[in-house]
């Protein structure tokens, strides 16, 4: 994207910002929303917002073009949990797994703390943002377990791995998971990426490249891909201690990002909202 392209984008974003009807509205519903899915009847009455995304223009490496131009967003809450329904076109379902194949994904971003929201691009030092990052790959984990090598490569025939013996002999019962996982560097280092995912990561970030996963988060996500479209519901508690807090009647902000795995989108290669959207929790 050219410099002109970036400034033009800012102008457009600025113009939309001033529009009064702009933003996501979450109405209160009587049903519990914690486990709601995209086919639930309660979505029928929810107000839909069409949100424009653009190729992430700041951090390198960045996408050459916008792969996801818009998403349709609805939101509902039940007083303690809030659910967001995101729908976007994606011609191919991608769950990643092997080298060079990336996962479809989407993320919600909220400011942490009151007052003016932090910089839109993942916050800044001292101005954190709270992110809910869903990946089709993480959802696959939640549904089928973390893939073993033989799931990723069904025809492979591994002889053996260290400390994993077909016949352990005298070592039977003496070798635990901990000893085996020393040989998986990511696991040994405690990297959340190397462990079973629940479907959605909660993340704090203070600027590009600073994100870190929050342990024991309880938000949920469930995506469904059908006929070239993802329908994804992410549910989170309205209030998260130390994180972002949403209250009925209080003005709030949010932002979105989408990755299309089959278009090599991963990390900083993504489509994003170029400014914060008002979020009204009714």
């Amino acid at each position: 994207m050219t410099r002109f392209g970036i400034s033009a984008t800012w102008i457009i974003a600025g113009a939309l910002w001033a529009a009064p009807a702009w933003g996501v509205t979450a109405s209160k519903v009587n049903d519990k929303v914690i486990d709601v899915d995209s086919g639930a009847a309660l979505w029928a009455k929810a107000q839909e917002e069409v949100v424009t995304l653009m190729a992430q223009p700041i951090a390198l490496p960045r996408p050459a073009k916008t792969e996801t131009a818009q998403i349709r967003v609805k939101a509902v809450h039940d007083g303690s949990w809030i659910a967001f329904l995101l729908r976007w076109k994606d011609s191919e379902k991608s769950e990643a797994g092997i080298l060079g194949k990336f996962s479809d994904g989407a993320a919600l971003q909220f400011p942490v703390g009151d007052g003016d929201p932090p910089p839109i691009f993942m916050g800044a030092r001292g101005q954190p943002v709270h992110i809910f990052h869903w990946r089709a790959q993480y959802q696959r984990d939640a549904e089928k377990g973390k893939p073993e090598m033989t799931d990723l490569y069904p025809n492979m025939n591994p002889d053996m791995y260290p400390m994993e013996f077909k016949d352990p002999g005298s070592l039977k019962g003496k070798i635990g998971k901990a000893q085996q996982e020393v040989y998986s560097h990511g696991k040994a280092a405690g990297n959340p990426q190397s462990y079973l995912k629940s479907g959605v990561d909660e993340i704090f970030a203070e600027g590009f490249g600073s994100s870190s996963v929050i342990e024991n988060a309880d938000s949920k996500a469930r995506g469904k891909w059908s006929k070239g479209e993802w329908s994804l519901v992410i549910t989170r508690p309205l209030e998260r201690s130390n994180g972002s807090v949403l209250k009925a009647g209080s003005p709030a902000w949010m932002a979105f990002a989408v990755w299309q795995g089959d278009r090599d989108e991963v990390g900083s290669r993504k489509s994003v909202t170029m400014s914060w959207l008002p979020l009204e929790v009714k």
Binding site: P61, G100, M149, S184
Partner: protein, 376 residues
């Protein structure tokens, strides 16, 4: 983009971060005239570091046959093709584009993303020779039919492309020894380093879902020992030590002596602009134009130096110290027909004769009353 000094191309170049050289820089010199592709280094590395799940086809150290072998497939020609034709005139700085300078505005470096299959044939092209051997052929010098073996580890570059490309800044270069590491607790497996490293020494592990690379055997290096691939090299073609930039070169440092003082060992593909820190003594009988492309225009000088070794007892002595100790040699000296290596505290760790003494034994052993057989 910052302006940084790259001595290998003898000019300033663009790099995303400021120049910050480590206190000392890990480096290996390989004598390609002696490598027999036995892959002992490869297996020493594999059994030490990459025997786990998701590392089945992962070789942080590999040995490939040039010109046709490559792991992953065609890594070298694909990078060179993407960068496009560049010129480097002898005795001049390299004025062509580096991979950082030639990059698309959306990217950090010129690179390509190898496919999964590209990693699955580590022995591809093994022992394939350039040229067709026909009936009645005989050896000429330099060889008109040729190949040579190229052992490769991560080059722990002064200006790593992997580090430049990582949007999470999960890759760092250690101040104490210049070793480049992927933080295994922060990497998220975006594969940007795999794409950007022109030498393709960042590798993706689908089991841990993050990227990994050669760690320079830093736990050994911290204890004053050379990496496993160097310790286990049965051809004694390698020496690991610490190299200084040319303006701080010390003649009694083995790496500085081979690279800066003698010009015997050269970095590979220096034109890519990473200032890689693995150096090669070029194979003297291979095709010169190919060697120039790989090692730059100074390769003819290096070959000349190698051919003149018979008149240089100091260089001979140093080459004999290669593979003679597991320890890191910080200083060496050659005098009175002996080559000696010293550790960081300047204590002697190894001493070898420059010329092996000739022992003559009588065919009959009087003491044992037995005829001596000449079987090994």
């Amino acid at each position: 983009m910052a302006k940084v000094k790259n001595w290998q191309i003898n000019r300033e170049m663009n790099y995303p971060y400021d120049e910050k050289r480590p206190k000392r820089q890990w480096a290996i010199v390989f004598d390609l005239n002696k490598c027999i592709a036995c892959q002992t280094c490869t297996l020493a590395c594999k059994t030490t570091w990459t025997s786990g799940k998701g590392q089945e086809y992962m070789f942080w150290n590999n040995v490939e046959t040039k010109p046709y072998g490559a792991y992953p497939l065609a890594w070298d020609v694909r990078v060179l093709e993407k960068l496009g034709r560049q010129e480097w005139k002898s005795k001049e700085p390299y004025y062509g584009k580096t991979i950082f300078e030639g990059a698309d505005p959306n990217e950090r470096a010129v690179g390509f993303k190898p496919e999964d299959e590209d990693w699955m044939y580590p022995n591809n092209g093994e022992d394939d020779c350039a040229g067709t051997v026909t009936k009645g052929d005989h050896i000429t010098l330099p060889h008109d039919k040729w190949f040579f073996y190229l052992p490769r580890t991560c080059a722990h570059c002064t200006y790593p492309a992997c580090l430049a490309a990582c949007p999470r800044k999960a890759i760092y270069k250690r101040e104490e020894d210049g070793i480049v590491l992927i933080d295994q607790s922060r990497c998220k497996g975006y594969g940007e380093c795999v794409k950007a490293c022109p030498y393709k020494k960042s590798m993706y592990n689908p089991y841990t879902r993050i990227s990994e690379k050669c760690v320079g055997c830093y736990p050994a290096v911290e204890q004053g020992y050379q990496p496993m691939c160097v310790q286990n090299c049965i051809g004694k073609i390698r020496i690991m030590g610490f190299i200084n930039p040319p303006w701080k070169a010390r003649e009694d440092n083995p790496l500085d002596y081979l690279v800066h003082k003698k010009g015997l060992a050269l970095p590979y593909y220096p034109q890519l602009g990473l200032e890689p820190n693995i150096y090669y003594i070029p194979p003297i009988h291979a095709d010169k134009s190919y060697l120039s492309q790989m090692f730059g225009p100074n390769v003819l000088g290096a070959i000349g130096q190698y051919q003149a070794l018979q008149d240089d007892p100091v260089a001979q002595g140093l080459l004999l110290l290669m593979g003679s100790t597991d320890r890191i040699i910080h200083r060496f000296e050659v005098k009175n027909g002996m080559a000696t290596g010293f550790d960081e505290a300047d204590d002697e760790i190894v001493s070898v004769p420059v010329t092996e003494p000739l022992m003559e034994r009588k065919p009959f052993d009087e003491k044992l009353g037995a005829v001596r057989q000449n079987t090994p």
